[in-house]
Every structure is written in C-alpha cells, then in structure tokens.
C-alpha cells in the first residue's frame, strides 16, 4: 500500500472539493484542505503532508509568499511543493523552479489525473498499477 497525504492550499472552495474527490477516487490518497496561505502553513506544520499543492494566485498572501514561508520553517522545509498556476509560460515555470518548487501543474487540470502527475513529478514509483487498474 502506498497511501499519500496531500495538502491543497487554494482560496477557491470548489477547487479544494474537486481536488479532494479526484485524488481520493483516483488513488485513494488522503487530502487535507486549506483556504489561505496562513491556514495552509499551519496545517502543513501540524500535519506534515507528503506533498503540498499550492495555488499561486491567492488574495492577501499569495502562493509565492506562502512558499517562501514554508521554506523558512524547519518543519515544512522538506515537504515538496507543487504550484498550481494559470500561467504556464516557460519563463514562469523556470522562475518557480528557481525558487525551489518541485513542479508546476497548469490550470485547468483534471483532478482525477493529479495523483499520476504528482507521482511523475516527485518520482514516486508506488501507485502506477493502482491508477492504471482504476481507469
């Protein structure tokens, strides 16, 4: 068994919901949700998820600021972060990579495909047959 714990930080509730449903259905992973950067940092510190999906465009504390905050805390420093963005230009992707993000997933995405995308980005080997069996 290869159960992962994913934290999704997005100010859009609908996104939180579809991500949660999609990942659970596709891979059976556990999904934690946060509606803001501050809340996300708190959850990350307390829950220590395996991966954080972080929306770039958020009011108040945006994705970049949240990411930098996560990087600055010892408890969350090691957690891989994948940025969710509507911008998908080469230059922007590079900028995110330079910041130290593990990867970028461009909106719009199909939440059912997220476990596969995450696993590919983070080189997780475990879940392939799991996903393939379901589809």
């Amino acid at each position: 068994m290869c159960i992962k714990r994913v934290l999704i930080i997005d100010d859009e509730e609908t996104i939180q919901t579809v991500v949660q449903f999609g990942i659970k259905m596709a891979a059976g992973w556990e999904v934690l949700t946060a509606g803001s950067g501050a809340q996300g940092i708190q959850t990350a510190q307390s829950e220590k998820p395996d991966v954080i999906l972080l929306d770039v465009m958020m009011p108040e504390m945006d994705g970049i600021a949240t990411f930098k905050a996560l990087q600055s805390h010892a408890e969350t420093e090691q957690i891989p972060v994948i940025l969710l963005t509507a911008k998908a230009q080469t230059a922007e992707k590079r900028q995110f990579n330079d910041l130290g993000a593990s990867g970028v997933i461009t909106k719009p995405f199909n939440s059912l495909n997220l476990p596969e995308q995450i696993a590919r980005i983070l080189h997780w080997k475990c879940k392939y047959e799991n996903l393939a069996g379901r589809r």
Binding site: E12, T14, I15, T17, V18, V19, F21, G22, M25, M57, A86, K87, Q89, T90, A91, K107, P108, F109, N110, S111, L112
Partner: protein, 606 residues
Amino acid sequence: MRDTSQPKELMQTELRQQQQRVELFSEVTLKIRQSLQLKEILHTTVTEVQRILQADRVLIYHVLPDGTGKTISEAVLPDYPALMDLEFPEEVFPEDYQQLYAQGRVRMIADVHNSTAGLADCLVEFVDQFQIQAKLIVPIVQTLNAHTHGTSSSKNHLWGLLIAHQCKNARHWVDFELELMQQLADQISIALSQAQLLEHMEEVVEARTAELQEVNRNLQQEINVRMQAEAALRQSEEQLRLITNALPVLIAYVDDQQQYRFNNQAYQDWLGQSPSEIDGCHLQQIWGDECYQRMQAYVETALSGRVITYENDIVLKDGSARSVNVTYIPHLDDSKAVKGFFALTNDISDRKAIERMKDEFISVISHELRTPLTSLHSALKILATGQLGTLSNAGQQMLGIADDSTERLVRLVNNVLDLQRIESGKVVMERQACNATNLMIQAAEVMQAMAQQHGVTLMTQAEDLSIWADADYILQTLTNLLSNAIKFSSPGGTVWLTVACHKKPSSAKSKKQTLKSKIQAAYSEVVFRVRDEGQGIPANQLERIFERFQQVDSSDSRKKGGTGLGLAICRKIIEQHNGKIWAESAPGHGSTFAFTLPAFDRVHHH
C-alpha cells in the same frame, strides 16, 4: 627814321590784323562747334561772316542731287532782297562748274559788271536781280564715306557754296577774307561729316535700341511667365502649408545631414518649438540623446534609401509621454541618390492604451476562467467515473456533452491566451539548440493516443538535425498540426511527420567549401512537414485557414472539437522564429502543412 618807322608801323598793323584774324577765327569756330545742329551751325556761320566781312549778304547755297540748288541759310542787310528758299534753276550753276568747285575752286569777283570778271551775260542779268556788285565764293566740299562690305572709299562731293555778296558797291576782296571763308567752309564740311556720322550712329543706335527693346520685351514676357509660375508656386506652397499645418500629425523633411528642412505647425503644438526654430536643427538637438538613440537606426535605414516604419515613445512640451508611430520615406534625386527623407509621426497613444487594456482584459479573463473551468472539468470527470452513482443512458449522454464542451472550452481559453501573449509580444521565444528528432518523437508520443482513438497510423521519419528554436513552442506547433491531421484523416489513414534540411538557393551556388559557404550554411533551414490523406483543402482556402476562426468547414471542424485558433497560433510561433508556415493541398489527395525553422550552426555559439 621815318623810313624805318614806316615799315615798322606796317608790320605792327599786319601783326594786329593777323592776331585779330586768329581771334576771330577761333571765336567763330568755337561758336560753330558749340552746336551739333547743322542748321544752327550754318546760321552762325553766315551771321558771323557777314559781321566780320561787313558784307551786304552772306549765304549758303546747297546743291541738290538733281543739279538745282537753293539758299538754306542767309544773313542779309535789310536794304537788300533775301535769297532764302529761292530755288535756282540748273542753268545758273551748270554741272561743269560744280566739278570745278568740287576740286576746290574759289571765285573772287570785285565787280560783276567788269568784263574781266568773266561772267556770262545771262548770269550778270541774273545777279543784277539781287543787286549784287561783288561776290566771293568758296566751295563746301563733303567727303563721302561709303561703308560697303568692310571697305571704305572716299570721294569729294560738292555739297554747297559759301557766298559773300557786296550790293552797295564793287569790292576788292582781300586774302584774309578768302582765307576766313575757306576755313569756315572747311568747318562746315567737318560739321557735315560729323552730322553724317551722327546720323549713321543714330541709325546704329536706333537699330540697337530696337534690338534691345525686342530683348526687353522678351525678358518682360519671361519675367511675366516666371512671376506667374512663382505666384502659382507660392500658392501651392501656401496650400501645402495650410494642409500640413491643419493635420494633427508631425510632418517634416529631413536632409541627408539629419537636419530639419521643413516642419508643420504640429511641431509647435507638440514640442513647443516653431518650424522656424527647428529649421536647420539636427534630429538629436530636437529630440534629445535618449530618444535619438531609439531613432538613429531607423534614420540611417531611411537615409540608405528604404522606407521604414517604427514605434517610439516621446515626451511632449507639457511633459506627457506619448506613443507614436513613425514612418520615414526616403527622398531620391534623379540619379537615385538619397537627398533626405519625409517623416510622418502619428500619435497612437490612445490605440496603445486600448491595446494594453485589451491584452490585460484577455489575460485576466483567461486566468479568471481557468479556476471555474478546473472545477467544472474535474467535477464532470468525477461524475463520469460513476463512483458517485450511476446515471441513465440519457444522463450519461448529457454528461458526455458537458464533458466534451468543457474540454473544448479549456482549449479555447488556452488558445486565446496563447495567441494574445504571442501577439502582444509579452512572450519571448527562448531559443536554443534543439534536436529535431527529439521534438518529433515527443510530439508523436503526445499524439499517439489520439491517433489510436481515430484509427490513424502515425509515421515519423526523423533526421538528426539541430534547430535554433524554443522547444516548448515548436512542440506545441507540431502537436497542433498532428492533431489537425489526425482529426481530418479517415480511419485506416496514415499521417506522416517528416523533417529535411533545406539549403537556401544562395548557398547552393557556392561550390567551394569556403568560410563563406559555411556561413551561408548557417542560414540554411530545416523544414518540418505533416502530411495526411484526408479530404484536402480547396486552393482558395490555403491562406485563409491561418487566420483566426477560419476553418475550412466550420461545422465540421467544431464537430471535431477545433477552436479555430490553432493554426493562427502556429503561424505566430513560426513567425517569431523567423520561419515560414504554409499549407499545400490537392482536394481529395490530402494536405501537407509545412514550416521552416533556422538550422542551428556553430556560428550561433559565438
């Protein structure tokens, strides 16, 4: 003593007389010379001679060409009849007499009635009519100069006679009197010559005057024509100035030294400098160093003889920044040398502002659409898994429609944003050396699923070529073209993806493997081709399909899920790479989409 004194007195008298004569003579000569009018000269002569000689009558007789003659000037005492204007018959003065006089004969007759005088009886009778007792005659000879064909000959001609009469009594004429008469006759001769010369000169002057007047007339005419032309020119210049001044654009003429030679009123309105202040100034002087730096390359292009249009940002006199569109049109002389250029500058600030708003709007809309689209897309996909409950067949069908439409909406939003980003120039193609084979394999891998779904075979003929391009965008172009080819293929069909190195004609000419040909190789191209066996494209649509929302058959295309933006994006991407994209097709025989990219060469390393 008396013997000796007598001759002395005589000598003294003689000397006095001589002196008197000289004085008289010079006095008369002076009087004569004071006038150029012959009539006046003649009158002075007769008057003076009559006074000096105390003669009763002095006259000048003019011989006419027919041999007759008449008195043309006379001084006569009131007691005696005047001869003035009286015509003398020829017999009075026969031809042979005239000849004698012409040779210088003079006559001194002390008494006409004395037989020794040798006057014919008839003549004596004639002179008696006028109570003439004694007479003294000297000829007035004219030297005629005949100016013919450059040679001049002269001959003596008897013009007339100077005659003194004594009517009261007989008179013994003395030498002094004869001499005086002769000298005065000579003076008249000279005066006659001068008059003749004068007359001749007057003729010449008259002819010259006529010529000059003709020239003057011509000049006047020319001046009139020129003045009219000038007036017309002034008028057209005035009109030109009125028109250029009325236009809300900068209009100027700049010479080959980059100095302004014409400016319209707009310069005053925009920059606060009048056309006369700007005239003769260098461009750099007017626009400042920073702005001139942005202009310089274009100015040089115009002065090399090419029309050029560019955009620039300028600052007006009130400090406001403006975006302008500038066009330079070279001015060539007859020998095709560049004399300067015309400069037209338009304010496009409003257009630019609208463009920026449009870009921003599209960008915001696209971003804002993405979040709800993600939710919608994911939610529908989750529903379709059936894990949340099973739908009826009709329900499944509706869900399918919603799912397909969402996917199309996603593509549309992606494409709109892509196109807007590329068009607005926000996206810079990040070019690097890429391997053509890698790109083709990646593209084929991405499209393999779709090809299988459509029952289409995907054939790739790769070649190990290096291109100079942004890999992501070329991959996007390749997948887009492959997707189109698969969409429009019938099941069982084949889609080919090929690549070839394409030398430009210029490099093919060079046979020797010189440095030059190596450099030319750097400019060679790589051509990618995507060929299908579909229905093909009508010839008149081959260009149009690269425009936005211009599908060959829009209903058919929409059925196939196209957005109508794919080829427009491809074209923008290829153009940004300085490549070319086009379609070739024969209806019923499939189509080929091809594009070129610059080949990578080690020249690019340096």
